[in-house]
């Protein structure tokens, strides 16, 4: 019999369509929840916006390891793990929104690389070991590489602001043209978009470019090799791969297989499906492409207890290497002077309800949910202000946006409890820092000019900024009565609205720093 030259899709790819539909549904659900992570005016969002992160076994496991507590919801993540133990990496193949995006981008690439099999797939397991070991010793870095955390962060900081900017620019241009019918139509569409898709304000983030380049780079890897990230880098994929080793859902190949290699070309996991002996079960994404496309219908997925495929051999040296790296990383990150009392970065104002800094960093997975939901846009990702291990964790930059006094959204969306969910009464008592006046720049102090903006906007029931009426002389010798502002250190909560609204632009005449923050024992000014 001649080697068959079948067209690749000779039978109806029903499974593929079902899978694509499932992927689309989960991706849309994910994006809808992302868009819903925004205030509509009430203090509750009304949607379970952190459900994907809750279902992430890697984030859940590393948080449990780093905090040694079980106080976050873990049932969903456990469910995903159990599903993986039974069915294999269905999460990767059917659910993961980043995986779906990779699928979409990789469709731009004609054919899969079918060069000789590389050992690169081991990287992700070594990365996983590194993350698990370091988190077991209190260094939580998993969120940096976790696919869901990475996706939310990238959408928040780069993709969504970019789309918003582009969209608004287009509609603004048409608006400025002011053509009779055209502008009316475009304004109608713009209104519709504002109600549904666009965010209320244009988001501005300090690290859009860096995070955006990383994200687009990761997507672009699909052009080198389809689902490069999933095959070689994803630590969540590695964790699920380990769990799928003994999955009950198994792939069997009948005797009619003639080794034509069609399946190998369509395998997104690089699981070597054409090799009966060396099939890498942990790499299988259960996409069932091989079943769909086998010209001889030789592939079948079914339940059996019989383990199949090759054992995962990471290599003893490699495993020891990543364990050591995970161990060494812990003290290496912790010797930063930022961890020394009194040397903390003064501008590192954490969101209200944040745990004490050490505990905070054990939990924060840098997913960017708090940054996304922050109603004033004041929460920004750090670069090095919180140390390298704190990269992309939230910091309030009052000049960009203050902390709204009666808003508690950031604590509501935090998936790991790094920011506690506060009741409104509790929020009113939580201090995130203290504002202080720069007399050299303040108009009534330095320039004999009236101004009370900081006092006007101060939100505490009894204002933390009080005014002292003083008589001063201006240059011409005219005496005038001015009201000079003072901060009441007992009352100031550090929300930073005074800094945000101070008319002395550039370097405001009143600035908030983290001193006095409730969460810290050391970063205090007043005698208790």
């Amino acid at each position: 019999m001649q080697a068959p030259d079948f067209p690749a899709r000779h039978q109806s790819p029903m499974l593929k369509n079902i899978r694509r539909l499932t992927q689309a549904i989960f991706l849309l659900l994910f994006l809808w929840l992302f868009l819903s992570t925004e205030s509509r005016g009430a203090n509750e969002l009304g949607y379970p916006v952190k459900i994907f992160l809750d279902a992430d076994p890697l984030l859940t496991l590393t948080t449990i390891l780093s905090t040694r507590r079980l106080d976050n919801p873990f049932l969903l993540a456990l469910f995903v793990l159990i599903a993986t133990v039974v069915l294999g990496r269905v999460f990767c193949g059917w659910i993961c929104p980043l995986g779906t995006l990779h699928n979409m981008v990789s469709s731009l690439k004609r054919r899969n690389v079918t060069g000789k099999p590389r050992n690169l797939y081991l990287w992700k397991y070594l990365l996983l070991i590194f993350l698990l070991v370091s988190s077991a010793f209190s260094l939580q870095l998993a969120g940096i590489a976790d696919p869901l955390s990475l996706l939310i962060r990238s959408l928040t900081l780069a993709v969504y602001p970019l789309i918003q900017y582009a969209t608004v620019s287009v509609f603004d241009t048409v608006y400025a043209w002011n053509f009779p019918v055209v502008t009316d139509i475009s304004e109608f569409i713009y209104d519709l978009l504002k109600k549904t898709f666009l965010s209320f304000h244009q988001p501005h983030f300090q690290q859009s470019v860096l995070v955006g380049l990383l994200f687009f780079g990761i997507l672009a890897l699909n052009l080198a090799e389809k689902r490069f990230w999933c095959k070689y880098l994803c630590p969540l994929g590695a964790l699920l791969g380990l769990c799928s080793r003994y999955a009950l859902l198994n792939r069997s190949v009948s005797e009619s297989c003639n080794g034509c290699g069609s399946c190998s070309e369509v395998c997104p996991g690089g699981a070597l499906p054409d090799s009966r002996k060396n099939w890498r079960k942990p790499e299988c994404l259960v996409c069932m492409n091989c079943d769909d496309l086998c010209p001889r219908n030789a592939v079948r997925f079914g339940f059996s207890r019989k383990p199949s495929g090759a054992a995962l051999d990471l290599g003893k040296r490699r495993v020891i290497g990543s364990i050591v790296a995970g161990l060494v990383a812990v003290p290496l990150f912790k010797v930063s002077p930022l961890k020394k009392a009194g040397a903390a970065e003064p501008r590192l104002i954490r969101p209200p309800g944040s745990l004490e800094e050490t505990e905070f960093l054990k939990r924060c997975i840098k997913c960017g949910q708090c940054i996304k939901v922050c109603i004033t846009g004041g929460l920004q990702p750090t670069l090095l202000e919180a140390g390298l291990d704190g990269i992309w964790s939230p910091v309030l930059v009052p000049r960009i946006g203050y902390c709204e006094y009666r808003c508690t959204l950031c604590g509501q969306v935090c998936p790991t409890g790094a920011i506690r969910e506060l009741a409104l009464e509790e929020k009113a008592a939580v201090r995130i820092g203290t504002a202080m006046i720069d007399k050299g720049r303040c108009l009534p102090f330095a320039h004999a000019t009236p101004c009370i903006v900081c006092q006007e906007v101060c939100p505490t029931p009894q204002k933390a900024i009080w005014l002292e009426a003083v008589r001063v002389k201006n240059r011409t010798g005219r005496t005038m009565t001015l009201r000079q502002p003072h901060v009441d250190l007992e009352l100031c909560v550090g929300c930073g609205i005074c800094e945000a609204k101070c008319p002395v632009l550039g370097q405001p005449a009143i600035r908030a720093t983290s001193i006095g923050e409730s969460r810290s024992q050391d970063n205090q000014l007043l005698l208790p």
């Binding site: 205030s39 509509r40 005016g41 009430a42 203090n43 603004d172 608006y175 209320f200 109603i375 004033t376 709204e404 006094y405 009666r406 808003c407 108009l443 000019t449 009236p450 101004c451 009370i452 903006v453 006092q455 006007e456 906007v457 101060c458 939100p459 505490t460 029931p461 009894q462 204002k463 005014l467 009201r483 609204k501 101070c502 008319p503 632009l505």
Partner: protein, 300 residues
């Protein structure tokens, strides 16, 4: 009824009795003369006293014509619920919206440029719900619609202001009475800060002159001061219920200075103690001479 009112109504009655039927227009003029400069109504509920105040000024039909686009400008500046008296009472706003539609308005627009986040202030103030339930277009301000305007005042030469205010047929100002750090009180004239774009905080450097400049440039058809609850300390934002006093009162008038002058008295102040009222009076934008005014006081 004081002596002045009595004489006036006696005159009108007398005239009406003595005049032949063809002299009706004269009667109308005289009736207009009888209209008070200010209406001050006390009682509950807020919607009823608002209606009574406008009725005693001659009814909303006097101010709003059929087919008008009306801008109603409450204070929606702060993320506070109504009981804190930081924003205009939603029932007062609702009543005004209803009266505008009853008078035949085609569209009623309600907006403010708040200090706190607009989504929260519109909602927490209760104003968005109250006004849109009655058919008003409750809109967030659109940054593209602030245009530089030649104000040519003594303090403000030009400033970006919200164009919809100037495109409307009629403009109704509904401030709330509160204390404030530089202007001492924030009443009607200061409420126009809510249509300023840009870094409006700078206005406090010459607050009184600037407020009069603004109020001269934006002449509302009607000013309705909400004193259902007033904020007596820690204004303009408040947050402490102990600072709130319940007066159950609404003051309405066409003279913005007179309304603010009366507002001063609610806080035990003389009108002239407020710089912007004094300057408004001097510049003849309006009058702060409450004693010389016809003030109709009604208690429901």
């Amino acid at each position: 009824m004081n002596r002045r009112d009595f004489l006036k109504s006696a005159l009108i009655t007398g005239a009406a009795l003595g005049l032949p039927a063809g002299m009706d227009p004269l009667l109308t003029v005289l009736k207009a003369a009888e209209r008070p400069d200010l209406a001050v109504v006390r009682g509950t509920p807020p919607a009823a006293i608002t209606r009574a105040a406008i009725d005693s000024l001659g009814g909303m039909k006097r101010f709003v014509s059929r087919g008008d686009v009306v801008v109603v400008k409450p204070n929606i500046g702060w993320d506070r619920t109504p009981e804190y008296a930081a924003n205009t009472n939603p029932e007062v706003v609702g009543a005004v919206v209803r009266l505008c539609f009853e008078a035949g308005a085609k569209q009623v627009k309600v907006f403010d440029r708040p200090v706190n986040d607009p989504r929260r202030t519109y909602r927490q103030s209760g104003i968005a719900a109250a006004a849109s339930a009655l058919g008003a277009s409750v809109l967030f301000t659109d940054s593209r619609k602030f245009k530089d305007m030649r104000i040519n005042g003594s303090s403000l030469k030009s400033w970006p202001l919200y164009t919809e205010v100037f495109e409307a047929d009629k403009v109704i100002n509904i401030p709330i009475a509160k204390t404030h750090g530089t202007s001492k009180l924030t009443l009607g004239m200061k409420n126009w800060m809510g249509v300023m774009g840009g870094w409006r905080g700078r206005i406090h450097q010459r607050i009184d002159e600037s407020l009069v400049d603004l109020a001269t440039f934006i002449k509302p058809t009607l000013t309705i001061l909400d004193a259902v609850r007033i904020l007596t300390d820690n204004g303009p934002q408040g947050g402490n219920l102990a600072d709130v006093r319940r007066l159950n009162m609404v003051i309405a008038g066409t003279d913005a200075v007179a309304v603010d002058a009366f507002g001063a008295t609610l806080f035990g102040m003389k009108p002239a103690e407020l710089g912007f009222v004094r300057i408004g009076h001097q510049r003849r934008l309006g009058s702060m001479d409450l004693a010389g005014m016809n003030i109709r006081r009604i208690t429901l």
